[in-house]
């Protein structure tokens, strides 16, 4: 599965060479947030690779699971070892399209609503998703933002009974990427 994900990502990069204009970042931010009456848990990853081709709407992001940081060391350990099994599944990624890219003028300053559709791979499980987001164009950069939920069950992430009440079954995911044009 790891090889399949890498091949998919590389295929996207190769297809990307055909693009005339790509906007990318290597310092995007993704946040996982779980809220239950017992505990609020937040994890942040500030080393997210992401690319957007404004012409075709192709959009991708890829993250290293071990780059997620938690407030508590124990939570980070459990996240990597027990839930995400990051030794076995070191990456998560999204590969898809901005469905309404044709309606967005990425050369014009302003905020645009976007519908993003594609495949989200977490914990070695790939699922088709469709989410809403925004792309804000300012000073030649494109700021992409989206907030959506993922069900742990959908990605076969098992939480032991002892801590089940501490972790929400639905995790809120926030994607925040400031994309800059790559000059050839």
């Amino acid at each position: 599965m790891k090889r399949k994900i890498s091949v998919l990502f590389i295929a996207f990069l190769v297809s990307g060479t055909m693009f005339r204009q790509n906007f990318v970042t290597k310092t995007g931010h993704i946040k996982f947030y779980s809220d239950t009456p017992i505990e609020t848990i937040e994890a942040n990853n500030h080393a997210v690779n992401s690319a957007l081709n404004p012409k075709t709407g192709d959009f991708v992001f890829k993250i290293l699971i071990k780059s997620f940081e938690f407030e508590k060391a124990l939570m980070q350990e459990h996240f990597n070892e027990n839930y995400m099994e990051s030794d076995k599944y070191p990456n998560a990624m999204f590969k898809g399209k901005v469905v309404n890219a044709g309606d967005i003028d990425f050369g014009l300053a302003g905020t645009n609503d976007a519908i993003i559709k594609g495949d989200l791979t977490i914990h070695g499980v790939t699922k088709a998703v469709e989410e809403n987001g925004t792309f804000t164009v300012k000073d030649g950069k494109i700021h992409g933002q989206s907030v959506f939920s993922v069900l742990l069950e959908d990605y076969k992430i098992k939480v032991p009974g002892a801590v089940k009440k501490q972790i929400s079954e639905s995790i809120e995911v926030t994607v925040d990427v400031m994309l800059e044009e790559v000059k050839p």
Binding site: T27, S67, N80
Partner: protein, 146 residues
């Protein structure tokens, strides 16, 4: 005081101490201090990059999740938001420069600013893997070689 009362009192005290131990040293144990940690592997920055490029699965098994110390000539320093990233560049791709990216601990920022491109530097950090463009070292610190 009766004997059974002493036993209950002692058990109660042991229980309290156990709860305090779990609270402070298990549930709220501090994050590992990567600045003080001994490196699990020491190699050149380019060698680390090439190992991931050549066989990602093998490199993951060796370096991902480990404290890795690398040396090389620094190519640039990036400062997105409040972070500081030392970058070693070994290739070009769709995302621009590709190589090893070391995200510095906040207390290392001043030290890193004294380095210029092409300066030799040794850094160590927690390797979180290779994302098909770069090897990432989080919580990095500058190693002053004696």
């Amino acid at each position: 005081m009766k004997k059974w009362m002493k036993i209950i009192g002692a058990l109660f005290l042991v229980g309290i101490l156990a709860v305090l131990y779990v609270w402070f040293f298990v549930y709220n144990k501090p994050h590992r201090d990567y600045e003080k940690a001994d490196p699990d592997h020491i190699l050149a920055a380019e060698e680390l990059f090439l190992k991931y490029r050549q066989d990602k699965a093998l490199a993951d098994s060796l370096y991902t999740g480990m404290v890795v110390q690398i040396s090389g000539e620094i190519d640039k320093v990036e400062s997105p938001d409040s972070s500081l990233i030392a970058v070693f560049v070994f290739d070009q791709g769709m995302f621009g420069d590709e190589g090893v990216r070391c995200i510095l601990l906040p207390n290392q920022h001043t030290k890193l600013k004294s380095f210029s491109p092409r300066d030799k530097i040794t850094l160590k950090g927690y390797c979180t893997g290779y994302n098909d463009t770069d090897v990432i070292l989080e919580k990095s610190s500058i190693v002053i070689e004696q």
